[in-house]
């Protein structure tokens, strides 16, 4: 069993026990909430796992390494930042993709930039954001977020 599983299982057990001792009904309600969220996520998650499994087979590590690896320089960054900004992948299911990229030789900086732009910059959701905040503000917010996302990616790459 992976260390991940052990940590998550122990935390879940301890919290459940505490919660159960304090309030039985609330605990059951919490389990139900969690189950609902998990069920809503399960199918999209499985679909992404299937896609990643196919990509892991089709795309050789050498290719990933060349374009997104440590030696890819500015090009890897640009690809990660642009793809991250324009695609609308829920953060949740983007993590298996990020882990797959790392496994195939992409650098931490590139993967971090992909993740941060994905989270913080939303070109596809911009029309909706404009409805709430107005055109000028929404565009300014996304531009600032883009700069911040690239800075975060670079710094994570330097640290790790």
């Amino acid at each position: 069993m992976s260390s991940n599983a052990i940590i998550f299982i122990s935390v879940a057990l301890v919290l459940s026990l505490l919660s159960f001792l304090m309030d039985r009904q609330k605990t059951v309600a919490g389990f139900k909430r969690g189950w609902q969220m998990f069920r809503g996520l399960l199918l999209p998650f499985l679909n992404i796992l299937i896609l990643v499994s196919i990509f892991l087979y089709l795309i050789p590590p050498s290719l990933i390494n060349q374009y997104l690896g440590a030696g890819s320089g500015i090009l890897g960054f640009l690809i990660a930042a642009l793809v991250g900004s324009v695609t609308l992948i829920p953060a949740f299911i983007s993590y298996p993709i990020a882990a797959g990229l790392l496994q195939q030789g992409a650098s931490y900086a590139v993967v971090a930039t992909f993740m941060t732009t994905l989270m913080m910059v939303g070109v596809v959701t911009l029309p909706l954001e404009i409805k709430y905040l107005g055109r000028r503000v929404a565009i300014t917010r996304n531009a600032l977020n883009f700069v911040a996302a690239v800075i975060i990616g670079l710094m994570v790459g330097i640290i790790l």
Partner: protein, 183 residues
């Protein structure tokens, strides 16, 4: 028929994988077998921690009521107000477009411009369920590094937006109630 197709289209990928895997093993088609083995590894990885993460998230949801935090937003200013919007954002789940309706509520409750943008920043990158998955897939070091670098940056964006909008007319509008824009 259309109803049937709509109901089951979400299972198309799973069904395709099952059929392709069965055929690959029957006919000894190597690529198909490799893809399935890849899938099995990532499925086991996922199922060994994600359900437990959702137990944690579900318990958070019932014990830390978002409504009561929301109630105090707008009344508190300074560091406390900032901490409150970040906490509220961390307790959310779901994609960014779910953040705008809450931003509208914060605006109506009198939250500062700065705190509205800090909320959006924290929502995009510090939701607890998301951090859990991030730790599971990319490790605690990655998650900590990314979060600790992000935090000051989106607080800075909050200050920048407030400065940029000073003296300009700014309001958050709810598209669902077109008759009362920013009222």
């Amino acid at each position: 028929m259309r109803k049937f197709a709509k109901r089951y289209q979400v299972y198309v990928w799973i069904a395709a994988l099952a059929i392709a895997t069965a055929l690959s093993f029957v006919f000894g088609f190597n690529p198909g077998q490799t893809v399935f083995l890849n899938f099995r590894v990532s499925f086991v990885e996922m199922i060994s921690f994600v359900p437990f993460l959702f137990i944690i998230v579900g318990l958070f949801d019932v014990w830390v009521p978002k409504e009561s935090i929301q109630k105090h937003i707008g009344e508190e200013s300074g560091l406390k107000g900032m901490a409150l919007v970040i906490l509220l954002a961390m307790l959310q789940a779901g994609p960014l477009y779910g953040a705008f309706p809450v931003a509208y509520i914060l605006y109506k409750k009198g939250a500062s411009i700065r705190n509205i943008f800090i909320y959006l920043g924290a929502f995009s990158s510090m939701k607890i369920p998301m951090l859990g998955i991030e730790i599971g897939y990319l490790g605690i070091e990655f998650t900590l590094a990314r979060t600790l670098i992000s935090l000051p940056l989106f607080i800075a964006i909050g200050f920048l937006m407030e400065r940029y909008l000073r003296g300009k007319e700014f309001k958050v509008v709810s598209p669902s109630s077109p008759g009362t824009p920013g009222k």
